[in-house]
Symmetry: C2
């Protein structure tokens, strides 16, 4: 029998919590054999929500008195102290009682509390926030999505290795292909940091990933590469612009469909296929890389299905030995 993967779940963060978290845990447990959930949060509230059919051999609830609010600043959340569900969940990983932490709560607070408790992996200077992003052939890892506004050559090279390790942990049958996000005008192809990183990655041979050079924003979803590296400012703008564009087109599409009833109906049928492919819940879960334990951040506004997907991401990260892979690649 497989060793159970123990997930420390902060149940009190994000919209409609703890309900969506509890429902997400129940949904995930139906589709997996080897997860055990330590659920941190308000015992009374959580107990009420757990269906009787959910075996107590699969979970435990650890009561916490405090919770980090979405409106807390990262520092005030950290100062609020060690009694919050978020802190306790992280503590559980730190004490080797859990394998990985997940929260749908306050992003800034989660990262500050994680950094206070976990060590950086040796030789990594900055942690990076990585996300999943659809492409024509499958899935991209994109990092950094906002943990570091400014990055130097060493940081971007580290992100290439960490992103590749994550890709390999999640998709063991595929090979990481790294590209640097850059701009297209020939006149002004990138700043000095990007050019130097290009040289660095071109010259250093490794057996972790294949370096494919620069990529422009319009090629990110082409499927020619699968690990896209950039600084946190650019990555965040790119991610949000893609989200905004997708929402805009979906909105306009709905407007366009109001022509005929039959058209509405059939278009809806056809678009269901599209929705399945592009459902943001499929790509839910950003991963903070660089600490000696991965930290998974579920989108605050996702529902229980999205939360269940990011629980599966936790399972894959642990069973794919992500942290060992990163450590080996950095050596």
């Amino acid at each position: 029998m497989l060793k159970k993967i123990i997930i420390a779940v902060d149940a009190m963060g994000g919209d409609n919590s703890p309900e969506k978290v509890v429902k997400g845990v129940c949904l995930h447990s139906k589709n997996t054999q080897n997860a055990y959930y330590k659920i941190f949060g308000d015992l009374e509230k959580i107990e009420k929500m757990i269906p009787k059919s959910f075996s107590t051999s699969l979970y435990e609830i650890i009561h916490t008195k405090e919770e980090v609010k979405g409106t807390d600043s990262a520092l005030s959340a950290a100062k609020r102290g060690k009694e919050s569900s978020m802190w306790k969940a992280i503590d559980s990983v730190k004490n080797n009682e859990s394998d990985i932490i997940i929260s749908a709560g306050n992003t800034g607070a989660l990262f500050v509390i994680a950094k206070l408790n976990f060590k950086m992996i040796e030789n990594i200077d900055k942690p990076a926030l990585s996300g999943l992003w659809p492409n024509k052939n499958g899935t991209n890892i994109v990092l950094d999505l906002g943990a570091n506004i400014e990055c130097n050559e060493k940081n971007l090279a580290d992100f290439s290795l960490m992103g590749s390790a994550l890709f390999k942990a999640l998709f063991p049958d595929q090979s990481p292909k790294v590209a640097l996000l850059n701009i297209g005008s020939e006149e002004i192809k990138g700043n000095e940091i990007i050019k130097n990183t290009y040289k660095k990655l071109s010259n250093q041979s490794n057996n972790i990933y294949e370096f494919k050079g620069y990529i422009e924003g319009n090629e990110m979803m082409s499927g020619n590469v699968n690990v896209i590296v950039t600084d946190g400012f650019t990555g965040n703008v790119a991610l949000k612009t893609a989200e905004g564009t997708a929402n805009f087109i979906t909105g306009e599409l709905k407007k366009a469909m109001t022509g005929s009833l039959m058209g509405k109906f059939l278009t809806a049928l056809n678009i269901n296929n599209l929705k399945k492919r592009l459902d943001p819940r499929l790509y839910n879960g950003a991963i903070l890389l660089g600490l000696d334990s991965a930290v998974v951040k579920s989108h605050g506004s996702t529902d229980h299905i999205g939360f269940a997907n990011s629980l599966e991401l936790c399972v894959k990260i642990v069973s794919g030995n992500l942290i060992d892979k990163i450590k080996q690649s950095i050596d």
Copy 2:
């Protein structure tokens, strides 16, 4: 009778030129009363393409021996000298024989040759490339899209004024609302330059535009603002990411439609409305701002319809007194 607006047209740049340029000019002339076209390029080729119905009172052809290639570096194009269609067209504006220049050719070359020939507007330090971008309520101006990788507070403040002047020239009935593109994580809300620009724009009252603060990538198309200011690196990545996302969704939509023939047919009907709204040809034409004449760059890959739309952009820029508006706003 209205004074004719004289457009200097570089006929030799971009895919399928001069044919698409000539066709674009003919199409545009049918829908406008007050444009006159000075067409710079290969006389023999162009003459063959012009229909007999196109009155010679509406245009002239100025034969040029050289053309800038898409593969030329900006500097080698400039060194190629003053005999190219691009240089001659710019020269025509410099000598007050034309009101504005348009080209679908090599972007880098166009900007270098324009900078060599036109003066900067007083008190503007850097020119910016601005583009049109759909939003829920109409159209955004976004700048800089790639002319300057790094920008300081003064540059971004100048872009706010120039972008607002352009907005007002194109949409005289609407009011410019400026926002700075930034990232969303509270922890790390922007770099020092953006924060300082925010302060600068908040403190300086003006009657040119309303300053609406920061905007994130996902809100760019919400329609709450209409002039979006950023540095050229971020702007270029955002623009290209939006393009890539739109293409990806369109591609996936086509795949999703292959379900049923009837579905295909009806979806196609419905999507025509959408296409009309999102047709990139509607937004064709980037404008280099900051020189004492606007320079309009048509997308190299657009067709004659897209080119005709950017000719109309030229008419609006001249009749909207863009350059005067910029000069007044900078004073």
